[in-house]
Amino acid sequence: MAFGGNIAAIKPLSFSHGVHPEEYKQLSCNNPIERMPFVAEYILPLGQHIGAPSKPIVRKGQKVFRGQKIADPEGFVSVALHAPVDGTIDAIDLFTHPNGQELPAIKIKCDTFSSQLVTPQEAGDPENMDLPEFISAIQEAGLVGLGGAAFPAHVKFSIPEDKTCQYFMVNGCECEPFLTADDRLMVEYAEELLDGVEILNRFIKAEKLYVAVEINKQEAIQVISEKAVSRNCPIEIVPLKVKYPQGAEKMMISAILGKEIPAGKLPLDIEVLVSNVGTMVAISQYFRKGQPLIERVITVTGTALGRPTNVMVPIGTPMIELVNWCGGITSDAARVLLGGPMMGMVQKRLDVPVIKGTSGILALSDHEARVMTEYSCIRCGRCVDACPIFLNPSLLGMLAKKGFWDEMAKNNVMDCFECAACSFVCPSAIPLVQHFRVAKGFIKEKAAREKFENRNSV
């Protein structure tokens, strides 16, 4: 397997447990990525990533250019923010964040008469950089993990001195039903994707490179392997079985390497780094074209949406504009989700902006979103079979109902990454994952409180 573009195995790999919900990808998987027309206003929350919010460096009334930095990172776990359009700073104020809170954001009035070419930023030459320079460049590019969590990419790539990365995996699984953004991105931006991997690997120096793709994305697998061969990129394309949650880091690692990440540890503890395909493309675009993270691909889809498709959207675009451009929401819509149907959050208002972590907007009709009556647990054990990390959701669910948080913690509820496979299979329609979320919140809060009290007592 020395040459590039090798497809790893005839038989797709996978992990044990998990579920296979209906895919619904055909709604949008064949629609090429379209560019969203520019709209009048953009709202850029300062906190779009995990970590400290960025710090504005522009003032009201100032002209800004597409790609220009408008906020600096505040500390290490924070990234820069850039203007997604040519325009004028209209306000720096509190605006509703997709998470429902009023949070500080920069509002830009778009310049109608600009052609909206990117004003390239000075990214530096990756061929002549050392790791710290690279890390700080990535931070300046405003790069975050585009899979959904929006964890600052440079933090992830900062490998501590005592650790090494032996395996680097690009995550192109996209196991959530409905979502096709990564699929299209791999097909249309394969070249950039591989370029991003090559740039990154100059610094993380992984011995093995993988792209993991579920086998329902045949075109992506084919295009990437062709490009890898022609670029002579030493990357292995790993077709994975179509199974949820195949895209979860832990599942992917277990599928490809057969290794498990110990509870409470990170992939790097077993010499693995995983990153999303979008992040790779973004790295390439920053270093080759000077374009920081100012736009991303979003699948706007669902049975209650006029025209499901994949859209290249400037960060900060009001969701309502995006949804309307995609044909609007039909009258039988029951619910709009941010993200996929399994892990996505129900969105109450659409006047909030698209942020770096927005991977999909899903409008479900009454039929798909039907709310079922909850019954008692019948101990059928389907949730136990579904849980990809071998927890006992049935037990945890019962503990949760009684509010036995400590007991739940003992039963490893903190390892749950909320894939919702358990809720999905539960015939009694018990909202298990929702219970776990609440529990995790309480447990975290308690831990923090104890930490605080301990510190005070010292």
Binding site: K60, D86, S114, S115, T119
Partner: protein, 1252 residues
């Protein structure tokens, strides 16, 4: 496709010039765009020539047996279709070359050959200059042998060398028209006998016959059958013979078609009008790639060489026909398909369509397509419908929409450009001009300026017009308003103007002279300027608190600083006034500590905002008003628009104070100018009080006063590089400014009225609603409230709770609904007036431009300089079009006025639908009040002198009697050609016939007097009636004297009566025309000619001479009259100045004019034509004076004679006689006036072409 040896010293050739030379050398009658260069052809015969709009002239010559040739532009060709049909029928041996370059396209792309609808005529296509010349000769021979007209389409795309045809070759090949030749066909032998004249004299006094008889159907079918058999049937043979004969004579071989590798190949390309030499390398390239391709280029498209082509395609795998996109596209493919269908083995037939020219890529793609095994059977070259990606994000959005909705279009393009992908060009964008930024673009997409920029204008700006795809908008030749301001002239100019504000006197000449509206300005008081500075600073987030209460005192302190400075020590920027003023003020206020620090910080941010604004203190704007009232003086500031400025330097020329200077453009200078412009944008507009004051200031140019307002200044916008037409552009700019200034206040009044009506209506609705509530007895309300909780509740809850007997009064729901609907309509109307979809409010005028060369800037795609709706049309239709527009618009504007009328009644609660609906619905133009009529924006018809030509008389007359707000502007260059009819008097009489209609306001004048022009424009545009403006706009290119500039031309035109000043206001004309006519603005208005004095030296002595300036002096300046003046040595004293010559009855002596050359007096003898013209112009002037009443009142001579008679004869009966005298006097006067009137009327009737 290389143009050959580039090292030759010869100038580049254009086929038009070469072809005209050839035609002139062989023909006896030609119809060519340029005057024939030679008077005689090679056979020694004179060459007749007439410029005409059709072919009638040379058809007549051809009938008489003369050799004739024509080079027609498309318009004339189209006008001549009927005559051509007749010529074909009558066997006239015409040869007609059609020049399609020009017409609707801007860049003169050469002809794309099409099959013309004359089946039996011969049609040639040539594709190189050499072919164009050779085919012209062959065409004559073919036409003369076959007796069938030949049409020749020239598709030359590149200039090249031609091998000239010698005189001997010419005479050998064509022979003399008079020669007797063997009748070439058996049928001709039967018709003419064994011999005939080379060019038959179908029309001949010696053997008279009738031509062009109308035949019945039977005879007509016999005629066409016979034509087919006895004439067309011989064509192929005759043409072949002619090609052979030509080769024998000139040594060059031509044929029905050219081929390359056509016989040996498996695949064949068929084209017409292509230079095959240029294609050979491409074919070779393909053959290298194992694609066996050959090519056939067809030169004779009618009669089509069917058998040869049929043979060529018979052994091919596939054949691709490449032909131009035209209404008749597919004719070539049709012919080939027809041929193919008859073959045993049918090759695959593929059609490729190209828009204007084929490029290498198209040929390559056609070849590879054929050889691909699964070729596309129909495709388009050159024209891209989509591109897989655009570097420009917004363009990409549109492209993907097209691709989504029209997926099949992508397949039509074989030669889609390679995706420029995501690697966009990193171009810094130029700043968008002020005028564009105010646009809101809420109209339909096709009217959106930003959309137009991103899909079209952007690419023109960057010189990448190739990137534009055939998107749906391209199908609509509609350009959004003000698109010219999307353009930047940065990069095309070398110099930029700068202003020395201390030298500037704020006269505004530069603003007025600038044709590109590139010098916006403002007059602003000190206090307002400080406030603006504060606003600009706060917009960037700076907090201004401490400075606010100081503004008044600061501006007073500033006035003090200025008066202390004195007029000799003028400041250059606002800083040098405000900084000392601030220091003085803070010292006076004894500001200290923190307060002083914060005031200083705030002040310095204001100073930063004002960015060293250069200001001018002028008499008109600062010192005069300041002397009247302290604090009322205003500072003057002007900016240069870096996008619109072409660097032409007209502003520097116009500045008599040398305050404007042209400097070589540097990035620093440009950025300085951009900064000033951006600052100007942020300042408020000049107040209307200032402008009104200046309009009454006799010292101040009224045009300049208007230009001080940005709202009036930008009626037309944007720069373009047509400096030659800058004078017409400047004038249209002035018209638009005047109109803006007249119509905007009317709109403002209407908006005020609408506001009042809307307020009234809402009061109205409110009171109807409140009246239904109880006034004194609130029991029911109390009961209703009783059931709700004790906190704030919505009113409807209380009302809902009212029940049973407590019910409120009834309201008339229908009435309320009606009023609410009306209110909505009123608000909508207000929005249209103030904002509208563009954001700039309703346009203040409509424009119809007769497109001609001098107004080329007005309709040059993609840059529309107008802010108003505009239509560009060809002359002959424009008056009719303009009246259609006026009437059409009126329909909508009447609806607005009906709305106002209805609201006026409704607001008083007097509206009764049954009674008023009918009346209001019947409202028409005639029943409108003057005030209402003024709300209809005027429509301008702008064109050149051809508008006054005979063909327009009727439609122009109809337009000017229409009683509608339509204003006609005739921009006359007063250029005449000696060959023309005596047009001066013609145009004058057209003008007089318009006057005779007594409906239209008329002004004739020039920019020689700004004030007269301004008054004329204001009066005419403002008048209720239609108006006609004839304005002199010199065309410097046509004059011999250019050094003195256009001002000198203005003076000569004015003084020589070539262009007298004239005003006619029908509103003032109660009984007779002369009440409304004014000619007294002219020099020596009471005399025939104006007298001028020239100084010269004779024998070392200084002398001077006075003479009458006549039209001949004007003609002397014109290039095309040059040959009518010759230096005259007055040896025998027979020279008579032309003004005297035309007065003398005997006409003895030589008419001359006087000129001073090198300080010496030179006499020029003038031709008869000049005398004739001068006399005619004199007569026109006399007519004007007569009409104006200054020439003939009641003649004094007559009066005294009558008096004497009376005295002698009737001395005794004085009283009685007196009475009779009065009577006689009166009748005589009446008769006199009647006679003038009759004379006039006759003239008018005659001119209007109507029968008595």
């Amino acid at each position: 496709m290389d143009s050959g040896n580039k090292h030759t010293a010869k100038p580049e050739l254009t086929w038009q010039r070469e072809l005209q030379k050839i035609e002139t050398s062989i023909c006896e009658g030609v119809q060519l765009p340029d005057l024939p260069s030679e008077k005689h052809n090679v056979f020694g015969r004179p060459v007749l020539h007439q410029k005409a709009d059709d072919l009638s002239y040379i058809s007549g010559l051809a009938m008489s047996g003369l050799r004739t040739g024509a080079l027609l532009d498309e318009a004339v060709f189209e006008n001549s279709i009927k005559q051509i049909r007749a010529a074909v029928r009558q066997h006239l041996p015409l040869t007609i070359t059609i020049d399609k370059s020009g017409s609707e396209s801007l860049t003169s792309v050469s002809v794309t050959p099409v099959l013309l609808p004359f089946n039996s005529a011969v049609q040639f296509v040539s594709s190189t200059i050499q072919e164009a010349i050779d085919f012209a000769l062959i065409a004559h021979r073919v036409a003369e042998l076959a007796l069938i007209p030949v049409f020749h389409q020239v598709a030359v795309r590149q200039n090249g060398e031609v091998v000239a045809v010698t005189k001997k070759q010419l005479t050998n090949f064509l022979g003399n028209a008079d020669d007797l030749v063997e009748s070439p066909t058996p049928s001709q032998k039967m018709i003419f006998g064994p011999q005939r004249r080379r060019i038959p004299q179908w029309f001949n006094y010696d053997y008279p016959a009738q031509l062009g008889a109308r035949k019945d159907e039977k005879s007509l079918s016999l005629e066409s059958a016979a034509n087919q058999a006895y004439f067309s049937g011989h064509l192929k043979e005759i043409i072949s013979d002619c090609f052979e004969e030509f080769e024998n004579t000139a040594g060059r071989k031509h044929d029905f078609y050219n081929t390359y590798q056509a016989e040996e190949s498996s695949y064949l390309l068929i084209t017409t009008g292509q230079d095959i030499e240029g294609i050979i390398p491409v074919i070779e390239e393909l053959r290298k790639q194992k694609v066996k391709l050959g090519i056939v280029n067809i030169n004779v498209i009618s009669p089509f060489p069917s058998s040869q082509i049929g043979k060529l395609i018979s052994n091919k795998k596939a054949v691709t026909i490449l032909e131009p996109l035209d209404e008749q596209s597919n004719w070539l493919a049709g012919k080939v398909r027809e041929l193919a269908s008859g073959l045993k083995h049918t090759p695959q037939i593929i059609t490729g369509i190209y828009a204007n020219s084929l490029i290498t890529e198209d040929i390559l793609a056609s070849g590879t397509n054929m050889a691909s095994g699964k070729p596309e059977e129909y495709f388009l070259c050159g024209t891209a419908f989509t591109q897989s990606a655009s570097a420009f994000p917004k363009h990409q959005v549109m492209l993907q929409a097209i691709e989504r909705d029209y997926p099949h279009l992508k397949k039509l393009n074989l030669t889609v450009k390679k995706s420029t992908g995501n690697s966009g060009p990193a171009k810094p964008e130029y700043p968008i001009s002020h005028i564009v930024r105010q646009y809101k673009d809420q109209g339909a997409p096709f009217t959106q300026l930003s959309r137009f920029k991103d899909s079209t204008a952007l690419f023109y700006q960057d010189g990448n017009a190739d990137e534009i795809v055939a998107d749906p908008f391209q199908a609509i030749p509609s350009v959004p308003a003000a698109s010219a301001s999307l353009r930047t002239m940065t990069g095309t100019r070398v110099a930029l103007p700068i202003i020395n504000s201390s030298k500037c006197t704020a006269c505004g000449s530069c603003m007025v002279e600038c044709p590109h509206s590139a010098i916006p300005s403002v007059a602003i008081g000190v206090e307002n300027l400080i406030k603006s500075g504060m606003d600009i600073a706060s917009a960037t987030g700076v907090q201004i608190i401490g400075l606010l209460p100081m503004v008044k005192n600061l501006s007073k302190a500033a006035s003090k600083v200025i008066s202390d400075l004195g007029e000799d020590n003028l400041p250059e920027s606002i800083e040098s006034i405000l900084v000392p003023a601030f220091d003085n003020l803070t010292a006076q206020m004894k500001l200290e500590g923190e307060k002083l620090v914060s005031a200083k910080t705030e002040f310095s941010s204001v100073m930063t905002a004002l960015n060293k604004l250069p200001i001018t203190l002028s008499d008109a704007l600062y010192y005069h008003p300041e002397a009247q009232q302290k604090g009322s003086g205003e500072l003057f500031f002007l900016a240069f628009d870096p996008n619109a400025c072409t660097g032409c330097g007209l502003c520097a020329e116009a500045c008599s104070d040398q305050a404007v200077e042209m400097l070589t453009e540097t990035p620093e200078l440009l950025s300085e100018i951009i900064k000033k412009m951006e600052l100007w944008e942020k300042l408020p507009d000049t107040s209307s009080d200032t402008i009104n004051r200046l309009l009454f200031d006799k010292e101040y140019d009224s045009f300049a006063a208007l230009m001080l307002s940005r709202n009036f200044y930008h009626g037309i916008t944007g720069g373009n590089q047509t400096d030659l037409d800058s004078q017409t552009k400047q004038f249209v700019h002035l018209i638009s400014a005047v109109t803006e200034s007249l119509v905007q206040p009317r709109y403002a009044n209407l908006v005020r009225e609408i506001d009042e009506l809307a307020n009234g209506l809402s009061e109205n609705i409110h009171s109807i609603l409140s009246e239904s509530l109880p006034k004194e007895n609130f029991d029911n309300i109390a009961r209703a409230i009783g059931t709700t909780h004790e906190h704030k509740v919505p009113f409807h809850e209380i009302i809902n709770n009212i029940s049973g007997e407590d019910r409120l009064k009834q309201v008339d729901a229908g009435k309320i609904k009606r009023k609410i609907a009306l209110l909505d309509l009123l608000r909508g109307l207000k929005w249209s007036l103030t904002d509208g979809p563009t954001g700039a409010g309703r346009a203040r005028m409509g424009v119809s431009v007769s497109s001609n060369s001098r107004l080329g800037w007005a309709d040059q795609y993609p840059y529309n300089p107008f802010n108003s709706p505009v239509v560009a049309q060809r002359d002959e239709f424009s008056p009719g079009l303009a009246s259609g527009i006026v009437e059409g618009q009126l329909r909508y504007l009447l609806d607005n006025l009906k709305l106002i009328r209805k609201a006026k009644l409704e607001v008083k609660n007097k509206y009764l639908p049954k009674e008023h609906d009918k009346v209001i619905a019947a409202l028409d133009w005639e029943s409108l009040s003057d005030d209402e009529r003024k709300l209809v924006p005027p429509v301008f018809l702008i064109g050149d002198q051809t508008l006054l030509s005979r063909s327009n008389t009727e439609s122009l007359g109809r337009l000017l009697t229409s009683d509608k707000p339509v204003k006609v502007f005739i921009l006359d260059d007063l250029i005449s050609s000696p060959e023309d009819e005596c047009f001066e008097s013609l145009r004058t009489s057209e003008l007089i016939s318009v006057m005779g209609l007594k409906k239209a306001f008329i002004y004739q004048g020039s920019m020689a007097s700004h004030q007269s022009m301004f008054d004329g424009l204001v009066e005419g545009v403002n008048s209720m009636s239609p108006a006609l403006f004839r304005v002199f706009i010199p065309d410097p290119d046509s004059h011999r004297i250019t050094s003195e500039g256009s001002l000198a031309l203005h003076a000569i035109a004015f003084n020589s009566r070539a262009f007298p000043n004239l005003k006619f206001n029908p509103e003032k004309c109660k009984r007779f025309l002369n009440d409304g006519i004014r000619v007294d603005d002219n020099p020596s208005a009471d005399k025939d000619w104006h007298t001028a004095t020239i100084d010269y030296q004779e024998n070392g002595e200084q002398r001077s001479l006075s003479f009458d300036v006549t039209w001949a002096d004007w003609a002397f300046t014109l290039k095309n009259w040059e040959s009518h003046f010759s230096v005259y040595e007055d040896k025998n004293g027979s020279a008579v100045h032309i003004s005297k010559f035309i007065l003398s009855d005997s006409q003895s002596g030589t008419p001359v004019i006087y000129r001073v050359k090198d300080d010496a007096l030179v006499l020029y003898a003038v031709s008869d034509k000049v005398v004739e013209m001068t006399r005619a112009v004199g007569a026109s002037w006399a007519l004007f004076r007569e009409l104006g009443g200054s020439l003939v009142k009641f003649p004094e001579k007559l009066k005294s004679r009558v008096k004497e008679e009376l005295k002698e004869k009737y001395d005794a009966e004085l009283a009685k006689l007196k009475a009779e005298y009065e009577i006689k006097l009166k009748t005589q006067e009446q008769e006199q006036v009647e006679a003038i009137r009759r004379k006039l009327r006759d003239k008018l009737v005659q001119l209007a072409g109507r029968k008595k």
